[in-house]
Amino acid sequence: MPFCPNPDCDHRRRLGEPAAFSEGVTTCSDCGSTLSGTAPHFETVREPTVREPEKATGWTCPQCGLINRGDLALCSCGYDSNRPAVSDMQDTMTAPNPIETFLLRNKETQEQGRELVLEFNGSALEYFRIWIVNLCLTLFTLGIFSAWAKVRKKRYFYSHTTVDGTPFQYLGRPVPILKGRVIAAAAFLTYYASSHFFTSLLPYVFAVGAVLAPWVLVRSAAFNARYSAFRNMTFHFDGKYPGALKALYQWGIIPVFVLGMMFNWWGKYAIAAVAVLVFGVSFPWWIRRLRNFLISHSFYGNRKGIFSATGGQFFGVYFRSGLIMAGILVVVGLFTAMLIASVTEKSRLIAWLLAVPIYAGYVLAYAYVQAHSSNLVWNHTRLGPLRFQSTLRGWGMAKLYVTNALAIIASLGLLIPWAVMRTLKYRADHMRVLQEGELAEFQGSDMSSVEAIGAETVDFFDMDLSL
């Protein structure tokens, strides 16, 4: 280790010992003398002139990592915090760590039990331009540009959603998305052709689809996680094929029901009714298993999601929405009975008018499920020190859907971007993020930084299969 041989060096005067430097440094940063390889012999220990304490807390030397007292400006390695050295080449050994310095200085950011403000601040006018340009280019290129369009839109949504003042960052790139879309289109065409023209192939197509479905689930979850970042740390999904297989097909009720639908196994009404009932009752548990699989394999830094909702709670949500639908059907039924009793001629117009309240009931039941299953998922998810509070209401969502739909129809589609911004804002306004611990609990790695994503070679299966 090189030392400063100059007995009159500033450093030695202040601290009473020769300045030591890291390997490779050739001149003393205090006096400019050429350094020597061995520690110089010295007798006179002069009283160090203690400088005024400038910093209340300690600081970490960016060169050697030593934590120094706050009243010392100079580290034993020769780093002077009053005169930050500008190094030409940075390597990981000597790179300063501004975060630790910052944390030591700003204790208040680590206060516990506070709320992180979640905001969506997208503007309908700004998003309109993005939407129309991308739609136009997508139509013009017969759909090829849709991969770019998806990236641009997701980028807009992410970068206008902020938590604690920092926006999310979407890192997806168009080409892997295009690749995923080409494969999805090929799969759809295969299905379409085999269901219409080559029906003898249909069972094989289904079998292949069923085998691939868990893989698609895992790949799309992994893609979405990997290409979403917050504060320079990407999310991460470590679910694997066997886990997805279990989540999707355990008990076999859902796949058997779907297959039965496809191949017309439920011919008799009684069998069909039993099948629908079994499917309806087990569906909430299936949804829970799927959510649990997705959340408990998702990471942010080294912290993994924890999901605690039960199938019974999901059942409750679907059951109540069923009650809403049933209630409306009963009311419409009674009304129809009265109408038929009073009006003699049966016109198709009446049938059309009756569709309106039934459709409204359907929208309300759908909005209820959307709002409350979303609440259930978020309110039972923990991520490290973070808890979530989602307070969506079925009625509010239904109003949002109906006004959006009317606005879109009345504007011939031009208000679609406005409706999208409004929906995202509504969702963000009904979501709270609560911090119960330190954010520094999330520890990133070399693999999780945004730069690492940009530098990595893209493997063939790196593609977005979600739609």
């Binding site: 501004p98 944390l103 340009v133 504060r231 959006n404 730069e451």
Partner: protein
């Protein structure tokens, strides 16, 4: 020298540190508190511009600097260069207005012209035999589900209709594909259909509604028109394309897609269906005249059916799959005059 104020993240903890970045002489100096880091500007990687959102600059040491958008950032290496021109377009209202006009033109041109022509061309390259499985499945299904019952027509009557049918199809390019089926059906009433692949079904009620052999042949000629003009394949292609385009346009409003896209898709698909019916009518008139029959038979049968099954079709003109009967009769009479 350019100085940007922003936030630094080290990539190891999600902690935001106020920071500043100075650009001078091809290098970028990140200053946080009392620490500064120098990187070559060429080693940075800037996230694409999107709206007025902040940009993220990835640093070679896995750190990241976030700052408001600044024109200078365009001169640094870009993380996704292909998005640059798109961002340029997205920023301009003029482009957006042109985009509305172009999108509307593309959709309308595709709807009225491009899609029907493209579907016709594509259908011409798909052999009619591929449809036959579909047709066989359809008729087996209709039989199994009891929509159809065996015909009660006398064999002589069937024979004479078959002979007339064979005469009609004798010179047509697809003549070997045709198959005529008689069925009785309460639910479907007086009806005739062309199933995919050339199977034509006529119900007993339809045969009985006709006053003459000529009228039955007029109906069959119309169905032959559907087969000969490949309407099954074309409507399959056109309807799928309409559904795909509608899904693409309303993708953002996916949660409302049924409410929002449902009506336009229905309108588009029924419009194509009405066009096919009219085209099949025209084909039938030509075929009938060529074989020495009069299109007037078609008009008289339509008239009789319209009286028998009086309906409020005028109210549903735009969602109906068939053109208004009156119009069809008028066309038939005009065709007979020509």
């Amino acid at each position: 020298m350019i100085t940007l104020e922003g936030t630094y993240y080290d990539g190891r903890t999600p902690v935001a540190v106020p920071a500043r970045m100075e650009f001078a002489d091809g290098s970028a100096i990140l200053i946080t508190g009392q620490i500064s880091l120098r990187h070559a500007a060429a080693a940075l990687n800037v996230s694409p511009c999107i709206g007025k959102a902040d940009r993220f600059i990835a640093l070679p040491d896995n750190g990241q600097f976030q700052c408001p958008d600044h024109p200078f950032l365009q001169s640094l290496p870009q993380a996704s260069p292909s998005e640059g021109p798109v961002a340029w377009l997205e920023e301009r209202w003029g482009v957006a207005l042109a985009g509305i006009a172009i999108t509307a033109c593309l959709l309308l041109a595709g709807y009225f012209y491009g899609l029907p022509v493209a579907a016709e061309r594509v259908a011409a390259h798909i052999p009619v035999e591929t449809e036959q499985t579909l047709g066989r499945h359809a008729i087996t299904w209709l039989d199994e589900q009891r929509w159809f019952k065996p015909t009660k027509l006398e064999l002589d009557r069937q024979k004479s209709i078959r002979d007339g049918f064979d005469r009609l199809r004798s010179d047509l390019p697809l003549k070997s594909c045709y198959q005529l089926e008689f069925r009785a059906s309460k639910a479907l009433g007086a009806n005739a259909f062309a199933l995919p692949g050339g199977t034509i079904v006529i119900t007993d009620a339809m045969v009985k509604s006709a006053n003459s052999q000529e009228e039955v042949l007029a109906v069959l000629a119309h169905e032959i028109g559907h087969v000969e003009l490949r309407h099954t394949m074309r409507s399959l292609l056109q309807n799928s394309a309409v559904a795909v385009v509608a899904a693409a346009v309303t993708a953002d409003a996916a949660s409302l897609s049924v409410a929002v896209a449902g009506l336009p898709v229905l309108l588009a698909q029924t419009k194509y269906s009405r066009e096919f019916e009219a085209a099949a009518d025209e084909f039938a008139f030509k075929l009938l005249k060529q074989k020495g029959y009069s299109p007037l038979a078609f008009a008289s049968l339509m008239e009789r059916l319209a009286i028998k099954y009086e309906s409020d079709e005028k109210m549903f003109v735009y969602v109906s799959t068939h053109p208004v009967t009156e119009k069809r009769m008028k066309r038939a009479r005009a065709a007979a005059q020509e």
